[in-house]
Amino acid sequence: MSTPAGSHNSETGWGGESWFGSGSRRVLALAATALLIASYLRVLTYVTDIAGGTSRLILFVAGSFLAATLLARFLPAIGALVLAAVLFAVGLWSYVQAVPNGTFLLQSLGAVRTDILSLLTGLSILRIMEAGVWAIGFAPAPTFLAWYFALRRRYVAASVVGGAALGFFVLTGDATTPTVLAGVVGAVGVIGFGELERHGGSVRQAETLVLILVAIVVISPFVSVVPDGASQPLVPSGSAGGPTTVEGSLLASSNHVKIQGSITLSSEVRFTVESTHQDYWRVASYDRYTGQGWVRTGEANPYSGSLSGPPGNTTAIDQTYTVRSRMSIMPAAWKPTELSGGPQKNAEVTALGGVQPGGELANGTTYSVESQRPNATPAELRSAGTAYPDRITSRYTQLPRSVPNRVKRLTNQITAKATNPYDKARIIERWLKNTNNYSLNVSRPEGSIADSFLFDMQAGYCTYYATTMATMLRTQGIPTRFVTGYTDGQRVSRNKWVVRGLNSHAWVEVYFPDIGWVRFDPTPAGPRRSVEQSRLENARSDNESNVDINGSAAGEWTPTPTPTPIDTTPTSNGSGDGNATTDAAAGIEGQLRRAVNPGNGGAANVPTTTGTSGAADSGSGGGGSGGSGLPSLSPLQWVFALVLVVGLVAVARRRGVFERLYRELWVRFQPSGSPTEETERAFSRLEYLLAREHRPRRSGETPNQYLQVIDADDRATRVGEIFERAHYAGDVNRADADEANRLVDQLVAEHTPILGRIRRSWGKSGPDSI
């Protein structure tokens, strides 16, 4: 026997239901599916944009859509599941192939588990190696399956598949809140519109759904119910004796740098260092540029006794550090070759050759580092050539696609005369020092940092300078990386420096074949030092704690030679900028410390971001937008506004506002016609008016009876008479019709909410009720 035959919904809403057939419901359900899929693809394209492979990703996704569309016609669900599993396995396999010794690492099941666990607890996809290949491998399976299910009208399944994919990126922390909201709206929409489509709900049911979707978008950004715990993924540290994991080989042991807006920093003493040479006390370096910040990929290994030095001539630097406030970093001059002291036991070596402690270093801890600083002369650097090893090129010349071409064009122009990487680096370094002002008060730009800093912003601080320089060099194919650490600090005696939070800094290192990594610092040293100095003086005058240690209050130890041994280029722009004074201090220390050591929330030197991401409205710092009349909204804000409007329209529709509005216009507007037509229209206007005032005319009630029963006033009765003559006798002339229209106009005017009250109070006599 067949299923129930017919079904029809009675719907009395204004506008009817014809426009909302099952076709449009299906379109809405599919559109919601597409939105859901787009939300996690947004994350994947973000990844491939940085790590490469966007065009291949698009190709694979398009292929998945096509395959799902074709196969949905005949392939049963089980077949689709199998196919998706195969796609997923192939994707993973191609990823494993792309990663160095990936196949070897796959052999350990526990390792795979650890890997997945790290990702699910907040390890960004960007921090795994070959993230682009990973993204391309990941995308097809959920896309195929979600689209297939949506086409097969298994909307809940589609929502679950898409939601799971998006949920994964929520957990890895790569999906931003707007992306997640869009995806959630998609997931809810798939189910809601799917129900409508399958069960034939009414327009009003659709309105309810739209209201819920709007509520999601409107409420979510302003309500926070989720506690914010320590944001530290479960990444096993590669401590001694621990099992070698896939994760260990694929992932950075920690950390990334997100470039902030305005920052303030602590003047507390972090450590003191006794060193045979003055240098920058380097903490960490990063290889992957995201356009918005820096990420380190690859594993950290336990320190195993000694490290190789740079290939060329070097100068040995012996340093002994004394920790003055708890920290989880291990500053060392580049390039560390040997560690000694307590922390050496647990120390780790990052994939980029830096060192970091296994845990937190307590106040008073001391350790020694022996470093070998590359000693190449400019002439040697000029002739080093460009025979970079492949692993260096692939890792250190990567740029997000989001970096506009003009960055490269500008760099080409600036470095047109240079013939070798060293000259190019020096020219860019000098050019940056001279071109942009140093300031800690900046709004974080929306787009690519380097592009904004070059073309929009007038000022920035070290991370901006260093990021921009690294980007520019990479456009020239020169391997460059972003480095954080501390500048030399306050020299209190010939061999001793006191280093404070405000000395934290960022610079770049450029790779030269057979020489190694060489430091370049594009930040203008003069303004930076003066900002740091004034911050220090303020701290001293405010009696802040831990500003000074023995001897440091006495001021700088002045050696006989020049006090600026590192920065060979002359400082320019001595003027600096005035607004970067009081609460501003240098560097990126907070981030550096926070990222490395999430536990020390008590240090209270987390950089405060004033230029929040969503509010690029006025572009104050960048000075980008001119004074246009309209408030310039970001695309996100436009979407938000649009959603609000949709919500208001849905509410208005539900409350019948449109129908009333239409009626209100209709009752006032009379097209001309024959006297009979006009009279009839006048009477139906009167009826509407009276129905609102009293009650509608019952069927079977003559106009006359009706008007008598409701005790209408003389004018209404007169219109009734004219109407009856027109309707039953067809015997009205132009004058009658005009009279009827005039009388109804009067009545309408009197019943117009505000204007009517005024008119009535003007003493128009007669019974108050019509």
């Binding site: 026997m1 067949s2 299923t3 129930p4 035959a5 017919g6 079904s7 029809h8 919904n9 009675s10 699910l120 607890t121 907040g122 809940v156 949920g167 929520v170 957990l171 890895t172 922390g173 999906a175 931003t176 809140t177 992306t179 997640v180 909201l181 959630v184 709206v185 809810v188 189910i191 809601g192 129900e195 409508l196 399958r198 069960h199 034939g200 709900g201 009414s202 009003r204 049911q205 309105e207 309810t208 759904l209 209201l211 819920i212 509520a215 999601i216 409420i219 979510s220 309500v223 926070s224 119910v225 989720v226 506690p227 914010d228 715990g229 320590a230 944001s231 530290q232 993924p233 479960l234």
Partner: protein, 324 residues
Amino acid sequence: MRPTRRAVVLVGICALAIWLASRFGARSLNAVVVPALVVLGAGVVQLIFTDRPTIHRSHPAPGFPGETRTVEIEVETDDPLPARITDRVDSGLRTSFSDVTRGLPTSIDYEITLESRGEQRLGPLTLVVRDVLGLWTKTFEFPKRTPVLVYPETHDIPGTRIFGGSTRFSDDREQFDELREYVPGDSLRNVHWASSAKRDELVVMEFDAAIDVTGLAIAAGSTAGYADEMATAAASVATTLLDAGLAVSLSFPGGEIERDGGESQRERVLAALARTGHGRVDADADIRVFADADGTAITVDDREMPFEKLTGFAAESAVNRVRT
């Protein structure tokens, strides 16, 4: 109001998200949890304000086993929500109905096939209303049931001669009383075509009024467990007589129907035989029907014959046709 599996899963996801957030950092989990709470809350609100819908179920006409009827159900409500509709029917009916989920208000229809004699009933109906996302359900029971009368099966009995020797009545159409002019309402069956042709107007035959008046009394009885057989035999006899234009009266276990003819009497007789149980009937009758373990017997003028013999093979095949 009860949560559905979806709601339980959603709450689970929320709990997991909150735990993950507190343990490993908030990330964008807020954008997952808040919408989840919004949809859960919106579902509760939708169902709290849902009033009991009203149900109209059509009354299918009575009929013989094997006939089909369309049942229409209208669900009226001001709350535009989807609902799962379940309508049960008595075992004496076969139904095409399978549970459906529809957006309300709606109307659905389904077919039933009448199967067993008796007063069968449609219902009760259950409406499981849920919010637009299917997270919560609210169940409304509609215990009111709609009766469907299923007549006893009838078998063709060829001719009526068997019931009354020769004198008392006849279905011989030539034995009419008089011819008279046609008036609206007369059956075309009774038009006397030969005379009409001669007279240029329709002429109908008026049968001997005595036959109508005389009619026949039927008494039906059975032992326990044979009421169906009794009803089938009595209904077959009665309808055959009524179709032949005769009047009948019927005594059956638990009641009797006064002598009358025509379509309304036919319905009365069938309805009574549809509902009757077993029992003995002692009333005087021209035709007695009695069913027991030995079979169904028809007694006319002290002459007893098995019902099967009366219907013959034609009846057998008719039964088969009905049953398939």
